[in-house]
């Protein structure tokens, strides 16, 4: 348990986040959930900043949209969609587990969620890349 460790709390937390030995599925899922949350928070700030082009001028916003439609940005969008889908589906799993639902079957729920996530990502990729 983290609380009985004599080392500073920040060091215990760092170790709990990053130390790979003996870590089980739920531990990895938790770390990935936090990291994906940080990535999405950074993206939210970037998104809100870039949307300020709406306030500059129509030309500035249209330039921004043209930039966002490039193949390279679409690749970034696909990676972002993967992060978003993971965070959303694992977040639902964590909420269920936190509320005491499906606690004994949390691994099966995780893998089922990941399967749904892959299907969603496949559909999103198709819409982003080929279906538009």
């Amino acid at each position: 348990m983290v609380g009985r460790d004599p080392r500073p709390r920040w060091l215990q937390v760092g170790r709990a986040w990053l130390y790979p030995r003996g870590r089980r599925l739920g531990g990895w899922a938790f770390i990935l959930n936090r990291l994906s949350g940080l990535v999405l928070t950074a993206y939210l700030l970037l998104h809100l900043t870039l949307l300020s082009t709406l306030a500059w001028s129509p030309a500035a916003y249209d330039w921004f949209i043209e930039l966002m439609s490039s193949r390279l940005v679409l690749l970034f969008d696909l990676a972002l969609a993967a992060v978003l889908i993971y965070h959303g589906l694992n977040g639902i799993r964590l909420t269920l587990v936190g509320l005491g639902v499906g606690v004994t079957r949390h691994k099966e729920i995780f893998w089922a969620a990941m399967l749904v996530g892959l299907l969603l990502l496949g559909y999103g990729g198709y819409r982003l890349w080929g279906g538009m």
């Binding site: 348990m1 983290v2 709390r9 920040w10 215990q12 937390v13 709990a16 986040w17 130390y19 870590r23 089980r24 599925l25 739920g26 531990g27 990895w28 899922a29 938790f30 770390i31 959930n33 936090r34 949350g37 940080l38 999405l40 928070t41 939210l44 700030l45 809100l48 949307l51 300020s52 709406l54 306030a55 129509p58 916003y61 249209d62 949209i65 966002m68 439609s69 978003l84 959303g88 977040g91 639902i92 799993r93 964590l94 909420t95 587990v97 936190g98 509320l99 005491g100 606690v103 949390h106 819409r127 538009m132």
Partner: protein, 126 residues
């Protein structure tokens, strides 16, 4: 439940003083599943391309769109700042530092919502 334990979950019992944070995080997360899906479908899946300035301003001027987008903004910002707060609280701050973290994340959240609503209002009223 610790972060390195089997299920990798947090829960309402994790921090006695911050149960409201976990519940709000879960509630906004579930809200985002709904609002985020509506946002993605209306903004990115029904249109055949990204909306240009004229299209996005006309779209934002519809009352229901405005309500959904502002709700979405408030929910996503609340979820994000609560998540950052939760990570910072994992570092084990003192009760005074915990209060500062809560205050700072609240200020950041309010500032982001005010910025987003202001930007939307500017575009809609232009």
């Amino acid at each position: 439940m610790g972060m390195d334990e089997g299920m990798g979950g947090t829960g309402p019992g994790r921090y006695a003083r911050t149960d409201w944070g976990w519940l709000l995080q879960a509630a906004t997360g579930l809200g985002l599943v709904v609002l985020g899906t509506v946002h993605l479908i209306t903004q990115h899946f029904t249109a055949r391309k990204l909306l240009d300035y004229a299209e996005v301003t006309a779209w934002l001027r519809q009352p229901w769109v405005l309500v959904v987008e502002i709700l979405f903004l408030g929910t996503v910002v609340a979820h994000a700042v609560l998540g950052v707060r939760s990570i910072l609280l994992d570092l084990g701050p003192s009760p005074a530092a915990e209060q500062r973290v809560t205050r700072l994340t609240l200020i950041a959240g309010v500032a982001l919502v005010v910025y987003g609503v202001g930007l939307t209002a500017l575009v809609v009223m232009r």
